[in-house]
């Protein structure tokens, strides 16, 4: 789950991390009030959207004086950035930047731990830095049983600073950021850039945090900050029913049990020249109500011309699955052709039950996919 920069900065501040003075605004009037409150000649106006690249899209502007502020605020509010409409801007005191650094904590799959990533190449696209000059990125694997002791924070700070005074200022920043990261079950806590100001202070002038969805149950305050997009809302509503759903845009609706098999199914549709409408994992069992809910979801997509149901009968046997499908489809009225592929435990019994119905029954994934692709043309 993502939060906005201003929300991340509020968390930063709560953990004693140094951030620039800034105020979130929902209108030009708000922005003007914020400008007065900030009491600075130059301010920075930043679009608050759940996507990167807002700078390139014109969503970040420096304003010198109230008139410019009004203009930029008006321009940015309502702007569309990669499909997101800007409804909030962050107005912040412009900071005299001497140098920019990159700092983040992220979960590293390979070391199976959080890692601290640092670079003197701050303010840039860090993936780009990682690709072209990986030696400019320093990584520290954090042992969860000790966290970030003073010595480690100091070691990390020495990778960014040569001056011991700055090392002493930066080290606690890394410790506090780790605390924030862990205490809130973040999957990313990024400062890009962390700046050294002309006045010799260290400060986070941008802040990015994402959170582990599996841990939101223990962070209701963070969960309350969730602002799903239209597409995410659909996915989340599917999730609440026990499904994993992702819209893809093609015309062959898929209903599969298991995420890996669901991915393989959409890949095979493409392989055989079709276009999957979606990814849909209906999970372990396949009781009728679940099938009915899933079909509603698929048929809600008006592009869907055919539905491919691919079920591997494991613990739940194929004959039970077939019974469930028959029962479900007694309640669903649809003109859309249905291809069913049923394999696994008791597959023959299962397939026998489906004979003579309006379903197109297939034995292998290959057959099923080819049928579905043909029906979609």
């Amino acid at each position: 789950m993502k939060v906005h920069e201003y929300q991340a900065k509020e968390m930063f501040a709560a953990y004693g991390l140094p951030v620039d003075k800034s105020i979130v605004c929902r209108s030009v009037e708000d922005a003007v009030k914020a400008y007065e409150q900030l009491d600075a000649q130059k301010v920075i106006v930043k679009a608050q959207v759940h996507t990167g690249g807002r700078g390139k899209a014109g969503g970040v502007k420096l304003a010198d004086g109230e008139a410019e502020l009004r203009k930029h605020a008006a321009d940015i509010l309502g702007m569309d950035i990669k499909g997101f409409t800007v409804d909030r801007i962050l107005v912040g005191q412009a900071v005299h930047i001497d140098k920019e650094y990159y700092v983040s904590y992220v979960i590293d799959r390979s070391s199976k731990a959080a890692i601290l990533m640092l670079s003197r190449e701050g303010g840039m696209d860090i993936e780009e830095v990682a690709r072209t000059t990986p030696e400019k990125i320093h990584k520290f694997v954090i042992d969860p049983s000790i966290g970030v002791p003073d010595y480690l924070a100091r070691e990390a700070a020495f990778t960014l600073f040569d001056d011991i005074a700055l090392v002493r200022k930066a080290a606690p920043v890394f410790q506090k950021l780790y605390k924030l990261f862990v205490a809130n079950d973040a999957s990313l806590a990024e400062i890009n850039p962390l700046v050294l100001t002309r006045e010799g202070e260290i400060m986070a002038i941008d802040a990015k945090m994402t959170f582990d969805d599996n841990a939101l149950y223990r962070h209701p305050k963070t969960a309350a900050l969730n602002e799903p997009s239209e597409e995410e809302k659909k996915e989340q509503s599917a999730k609440s029913k026990g499904f994993s759903y992702v819209h893809l845009g093609g015309d062959i609706g898929c209903m599969v049990n298991g995420a890996g098999l669901a991915m393989a199914t959409m890949d095979m549709i493409k392989l055989y020249g079709g276009n999957p409408a979606n990814f849909l994992d209906i999970g372990g069992s396949s009781n009728p109500t679940k099938v009915i809910e899933a079909m509603k979801l698929l048929l809600g997509d008006k592009n869907v011309k055919v539905v491919l149901i691919n079920i591997f009968g494991g613990i739940t046997r194929c004959d039970d699955v077939a019974q469930g499908l028959l029962e479900a489809f007694r309640q669903i009225r649809t003109e859309v052709p249905i291809v069913i592929r049923l394999t696994g435990t008791n597959e023959k019994e299962g397939r026998a039950l489906l004979q003579g119905t309006h379903f197109h029954v297939a034995e292998t994934m290959g057959d099923a996919t080819q049928m579905a692709v043909k029906l979609s043309k």
């Binding site: 049983s145 599996n214 995420a259 890996g260 098999l261 991915m263 392989l271």
Partner: protein, 288 residues
């Protein structure tokens, strides 16, 4: 032979009095797994389908000499269950539970390694050494004894591959579902090493998917250390970036972790990649 589990494995089921724990305890026992006990705080002294129940894992280990544990407790309690098993001396901990917070896994994993134990999962179907032992929730009917090792991040996709293997007369030495979360225990590298060293395994099926770079590192490992034939299937070529495809770990982030990269990595080291799961048996046979 097999890796990780066999006829000698002594299994306890953590959360045996729960719905899933109870159901699968009976299934495992029915398959012939040596289920020596289960735990459920406060139910110590009871029986579940003839299996003795203990209050704590330490009690269970003391009484039954268990060395393997499978965990069915709800996600908020999974970390504690994993650590309890490790602290009590369990050497292989298999966590089936889905939806465990990542930092919980990070903490538990660190502790488990410190105790010299191994973790499989969480969010995994477990593992099976056909004809010997099942530790998990895999549908046993599709498996057959044999000499192909199977490693997979996915559940039903594993079954699909195994189904095809069995149909072609290629039984399995051990099949391991490593789990679909970003952070899980044993992974490709360690399991490839075990299969390479297992005299009864003669070929390895590796089933990957989008997210992370474990497949790329597996390809390197195979190039340098694996002599047995390996065939691969990678799911998620059509997955859009930034979307979780069912598994918490199946996500393309910042343009990395794509199926194309993974497929290229295997092909670069001469490991054949199947276009569909049903091709795996032939690819393995051709290389054997």
């Amino acid at each position: 032979m097999s890796i990780l589990i066999n006829k000698q494995s002594r299994l306890i089921v953590q959360g045996i009095t729960g719905r899933d724990g109870g159901f699968h305890a009976s299934k495992m026992k029915g398959y012939g797994t040596n289920v020596v006990g289960g735990t459920s705080p406060g139910k110590g002294g009871e029986q579940a389908d003839g299996i003795p129940v203990f209050n704590t894992v330490r009690d269970a280990v003391k009484e039954t000499a268990a060395d393997t544990s499978v965990i069915f407790v709800p996600a908020p309690f999974a970390k504690d269950a994993m650590m309890e098993a490790a602290d009590a001396g369990i050497k292989l901990i298999v966590c089936i539970t889905e939806g465990v917070p990542t930092l919980d896994v990070v903490e538990a994993y660190s502790y488990i390694r410190r105790k010299g134990a191994n973790l499989i999962g969480p969010n995994c179907p477990g593992l099976i050494s056909p004809g010997k032992s099942l530790v998990g929730i895999m549908p046993t009917m599709i498996f057959s004894e044999g000499s192909t090792g199977v490693i997979s991040r996915s559940g039903t996709l594993t079954y699909e591959v195994v189904y095809n293997l069995t149909a072609k007369g290629m039984g399995q030495s051990t099949a391991v579902g490593v789990g679909g979360d970003p952070v899980v225990g044993l992974y490709y590298r360690e399991l490839l090493e075990m299969f390479e060293n297992d005299p009864e395994t003669d070929s390895i099926a590796l089933i990957g998917e989008i997210g992370g770079d474990a497949e790329e590192r597996a390809a390197e490992y195979i190039r340098d250390h694996v002599t047995k034939p390996v065939a691969v299937f990678i799911a998620g070529q059509q997955a859009p970036p930034g979307k979780q495809m069912g598994h918490a770990g199946a996500i393309i982030s910042s343009g990395s972790g794509t199926a194309a990269e993974k497929i290229a990595a295997f092909e670069a080291v001469g490991v054949p990649v199947a276009k569909e799961p049903s091709q795996i048996p032939d690819l393995l046979k051709r290389n054997r």
